[in-house]
Amino acid sequence: MKNILKISFRNLKRNYRRTLLTASLITIGVIFVLIYTALSGSFKSYTVGQITDSMLGHIQIHKKGYVASVDNLPLDKNLNAKMLEFVESQIKDNPFIASHSYRIKFGAMFSNFTSTTNIRLNAVNPEDELATLPLLKDRITDMNGTLKPGEIIVPELLIKGMDVKVGDTIVLVANNKNGSVNGINLKVAGILGQVMGPGGRDGYIHIDDAKKALRMNEVEVSEIVLKLKDVEQLKQAEKSLQPILEKMNKMGKPVFEIHTWQQLTPFYNIIKMIDLMNISIQIILISIVLISILNVMMMSVFERIREIGTIAAIGTPPLTIVKLFLSEGLMLGIFGAVLGSIVSMGIIYVLGIIKITYNFGQQTGLILTPHLGINQILSVSIIVIIISLIASISPAFKASRLDPVEALRSY
């Protein structure tokens, strides 16, 4: 095999301009795919991280039917104490779950004493919420310590629109589920930066204040947000929560519903589109490699018919001729994949130093941190190498099937 590779290498060297041109095409294709993958991966992981770790969590548990009417923030679809006790018993020792947080979600009137607007609120236990959403604290500015009862964290758009400052007192007026109205005074404790997707513009208050404002006599929760130890195990974690889904009420209908972050945010469709575009780019790369190598190997066979005739005449078995041509295609593929990977890593390193910023929706100055995992490099390289081999199969068999007499006669 060593000798076959040696001869193949020299055959490639013989037409070095063509070899370089083909290898460059493959290299450029590999660079294009890897850079695109790294950039889109950076955008994707940043945005997914923001959505899950500062807003949605990884999984949410609600009373059945809550998510369908989430826009109304219904208070009559809250989880009661008995339901919470059941869910708690199911998630307590679940190996996939790192932490969880209870939320009461409701809408209220927000008044700065001169003007009034509406606001959507998450009422939480701050310690649990911060443990479940580790990036939430990065969204909060101008705040000392954690949220305490009597305080509110106001979304930045509302801060600007209502002309309030940290330290100001505001009034929240809310209807409870029975329709009675109640108001509480709260101090603005911090400003909440917005993120894309549902819930990205919700304010935060302490759960005790919500109970007071909504006059809740018993424990009630709109949703339970779960953080997983490893987000890659989302499917397994979701499956492990199956007993919660199987819990039925007296009428034999499900009590709970469980949604992963992917089901809760429309951004997941953008992620799927990015993945689809990744696949499309890879298909383009595969086509480039396939056509380039097929073209070069076919030309190589036609140019070397007489030579193939000679090696066949002196006793080279057809299979060895196949191996000879497959090795040439393989080497072209390996060369293009290795060079492309090295150049891509260099470009990505430089992009990391340059720190490219971008804006997405209302979020500005986001920094792209492209990163290439060894798995991505290996998968692209392996695809290129396999396609190189596949592209060489037809020319290789054509060469091996040449009639030595006809081949020796050719010029």
């Binding site: 090696i311 006793g315 057809p318």
Partner: protein, 228 residues
Amino acid sequence: MLKAVSLKKVYTSGEVSLEVIKNFSLEIKEGEFISLVGPSGSGKSTVLNMLGCLDTPTSGQIIINNTSVTSLNRTQRANFRGENIGFIFQSFNLIPVLSVYENIEYPLIMVQNLDESERKKRILKLLEEVGMLEHKDKTPDKISGGQMQRVAIARALVTNPKIIFADEPTANLDSKTAHMIIELMKKIQKEHQTTFVFATHDEKIVANVDRLITLIDGEIVEDKRIVR
């Protein structure tokens, strides 16, 4: 060592058939220095290709060293050629990407799979025999036509074949070089008892063979032994 019995070769194109070899029978003994002669189109090269297992007859049988080569498949024929037959071509047909040494080494690696020390021993001996030792590291484009044919002879001999087929081996050489190549082949035939079968027009070869077979229209019209 070689027996061809009632060989026929028919080429068919559409509805037209052309019988280029008609009832060709021949027996060749070990160490013979034979030339097939005849006008162009008489079937010399076709016979040579069939005897050399490059081509198969439409009918008839070829037996080389007790093996019926006409019943072998493509791969078996390639293996048989590699083990038993050497070829010398009019255009030398050296592999351009390999050096002189590597061209001779090629059949030993690809066909006979010999270990390196044995290969080296055989190749250096042959390079010395054909007078190309000092050019062993050159590629074919750096040596003359005569030198290329010497390398081709060494390549044909390196597998220790019982029989060598040479199709117009001197056609691309000048007279002086052709003479030297013929002398070299005669010397090898004597020293190695290798059988040489030529297809040629070259009078210089004809003047040196010890058996002359004349073909016209695919048939042997004369089989003459020449005592020198």
